[in-house]
């Protein structure tokens, strides 16, 4: 039919338009079939047709919608606002200018001009100094026999392992070291990591994930703080070494469980064996009782206690005569007592195997150089022998000696000394807050926090640090190298009060330590003379 031959509209324009439309549609090939189909499908059921049309409209709407993300709330900024923001923006310097106090600290950083050891030479000092700042507790750094063996290893294996453990990085000495560590500690298996500080950063996030619960001691060291942070788990802190507070939190969580009937996730208690920030030891027997009663797993960071506590240096477990397998994950460092490098984790076989595939530090970091692994093995051999017992007894004796030597400071009422008397070779000398508040001329705008557990304000902190630095300066003139404990202040959860941290080692004789204690006391007396 020719559309042009139709008659002009007679009844109404609508009818004409409809005829035009149907006739035009009829021209499309196959339109008759569609038309018949639509007439057929109507079936005298308008409701169904409406539903179908709705569905089709939904399809059209859905297909035309633009992609967007629900959880992103982007702010539409006008061009003017963008320009304003750009104009306002002043680039921060890549290296911020140092404050006067920061510059002083930089200038006073001691620079060793001899090899590391108990009596190194420091730039600007004529005689060798007594090193009381290194974690070389057993005095294993720079021992001649070990050094010779290390050089021999270097000739055999070369410098680095050149690959992650799972990717051509594993050497026979690594397996030996793992075996020796497991045997020495008394655990089923051990795994070594190539970097001490980051061992916890790998181990803890390997087991604790989003939705899990970690309960952690307040005074825990920086490395563990960061590891529990990147684990993305829920974190609760309990007061330092306060088992009652820990039990309070455990009960709270138990009540929450009962109230919400939630699925029980992985739960860990995270503590340090010997707290490097305070110099005291975790009450392990009570902790294990609590962990068992409330069904938690225990992660124990023995970075500083390994090789120091216990009669043979097996750490805090031996100190309390508790078998090592009571601790689920025992993390240690070979950087401190063993004077090597790297860290390790010891525990059940399944837990270690899991880390070989999921511990990011193990999977992606190049493994420990052979020379350091061998140095650690030699150190372990010494620890496991009778010589080890003697060495550890020496550490304890000199720690106690140092502690007793420093009692003169405690008697002034101005300072507190922690560590030393509890077999800890890490000793902190801190200002007594009450005394400092009363006596020292501190900036008037800064207030001491009412809660003794809260960190000090920056201004007060700097003043106290300056006093301690004068003590350090003073002792260095008497050939005793002391050091202040330093923290990344804005990264710490609750930065401890400024302190002088003394680390005594087995390589120091009693006489030397006694003299050093005397020198320290004298220096404090001299610096604090106007206030005492």
């Amino acid at each position: 039919m020719d559309p042009l031959a139709t008659t002009p509209p007679t009844a109404s324009t609508w009818a004409w338009a409809w005829t035009q439309f149907t006739q035009t549609v009829a021209l499309i090939p196959g339109s008759k079939i569609v038309g018949r189909y639509i007439r057929n499908s109507y079936q005298n059921d308008p409701f169904r047709i409406v539903l179908e049309v709705c569905l089709l409209l939904f399809v059209v709407w859905y297909l035309l919608e633009k992609r967007y993300r629900i959880d992103h709330h982007e702010i539409p900024l006008s061009k003017q606002e963008v320009d304003e923001l750009i104009e306002d923006w002043k680039p921060e310097p890549l290296v911020p200018a140092l404050s006067e106090w920061e510059r002083e600290q930089m200038e006073e950083t001691p620079v060793l001009v001899s090899e590391q050891g108990p009596r190194p030479r420091v730039e600007g000092v004529s005689q060798p100094v007594l090193n009381l700042v290194s974690y070389n507790f057993l005095g294993l750094a720079g021992v001649n026999d070990l050094k010779e063996h290390a050089v021999h290893t270097l000739r055999k294996y070369g410098v680095g392992a050149c690959g992650p453990p799972g990717f051509y990085g594993t050497l026979d000495v690594h397996k030996d070291l793992e075996k020796k560590l497991a045997e020495f500690i008394g655990s089923e298996e051990a795994i070594i990591y190539s970097q001490g500080l980051t061992t916890t950063l790998s181990v803890i996030p390997c087991f604790a994930k989003r939705g899990d619960i970690l309960i952690c001691d307040e005074a825990i060291n920086f490395s563990v703080q960061k590891s529990i942070q990147i684990s993305r788990s829920q974190i609760r802190y309990f007061k330092h070494n306060d088992m009652n507070d820990l039990e309070r939190i455990l009960k709270e969580i138990e009540q929450e469980d009962q109230a919400t009937k939630r699925v029980v996730t992985r739960r860990f208690i995270v503590v340090e064996g010997l707290y490097v920030n305070t110099g005291d030891i975790v009450p392990l027997p009570d902790l294990i009782a609590l962990k068992k009663r409330y069904k938690y797993r225990l992660i124990l960071d023995e970075s500083y206690s390994f090789g120091v506590l216990g009669s043979q240096g097996r750490g805090v477990t031996e100190h309390f005569q508790i078998p090592a397998d009571e601790v689920d994950l025992l993390i240690g460092s070979m950087c401190n007592s063993l004077a090597s490098s790297g860290g390790f984790c010891a525990g059940g076989r399944e837990l270690m195997e899991h880390q070989r595939l999921s511990g990011l530090g193990y999977v992606f970091s190049a493994s420990l150089p052979a020379i350091l692994a061998v140095y650690a093995i030699d150190g372990l051999d010494i620890l496991a022998s009778d010589q080890g017992k003697t060495v550890i007894r020496n550490v304890r004796d000199v720690s106690l000696q140092m502690y007793q030597g420093l009692q003169a400071l405690v008697n002034t009422g101005a300072l507190t000394v922690t560590g030393g008397n509890n077999q800890s070779p890490i000793i902190h000398i801190r200002f007594d807050r009450a005394w400092a508040q009363k006596t020292l001329p501190l900036p008037s705008d800064a207030q001491f926090p009412a809660n003794p557990r809260r960190p000090l304000p920056h201004a007060i902190r700097v003043e106290l640090e300056k006093l301690l630095q004068s003590v350090v300066r003073e002792t260095l003139t008497h050939h005793v190298l002391l050091g202040r404990a330093k923290y990344v202040v804005d990264q710490e959860r609750s930065v401890p009060d400024p302190s002088i941290r003394i680390c005594v080692t087995a390589a120091h004789s009693k006489e030397e330590v006694q003299e050093a204690a005397q020198v320290t006391c004298e220096a404090f007396r001299k610096v604090l003379k106007p206030y005492l």
Binding site: I70, D71, H73, I75, E84, D88, S233, T265
Partner: protein
Amino acid sequence: MKRRMSNLASRVPNVNKQGHVPINPNSQWVNNKGAWFSHIIYIVFLKYLFGIIPWVSRETSWTLTNWTYNISQYIMFHAIIGTPFEVEQGIYDGLTMWEQIDHGAQFTPTKKFLTVLPIFLFLLSTHYTNYDIFTFWINLIGLLIILVAKLPLMHRVRLFGINVVEGDDEVEDEH
């Protein structure tokens, strides 16, 4: 001026959270064209399977195809939560596959395809069953259940305690 900037700047979301998208092997493959095509093959196979069973009417076979496909989609995209892979300390734990696809973005091509497909299957089956009103309603119920689950407004929303995981929210450390 200065003040204004800080005010504006505080409203700008965390760039890190926005910019960094971890790869999720659990949901990545759903975007493949082959994966799209397998849905169509699956539907054809289902129809064939139910069609060759003796004494099964055409209406029943279409209804069975519809429901089997919808239930399959429900199980795959809305019932199983989490991912067997380790992604960002468990960022996808407790999320359904649908919520994981394209890292939670809405109206992406894959989501459009997977939404439109069951609708077309439904319309097709209605028309092939001679507009039988009983099967129409039965199939519509199945369709609506999975359509509602796919709507953007149901993203991370849990009804009737289905797929609820406790302790999933990050708790800020009370300092």
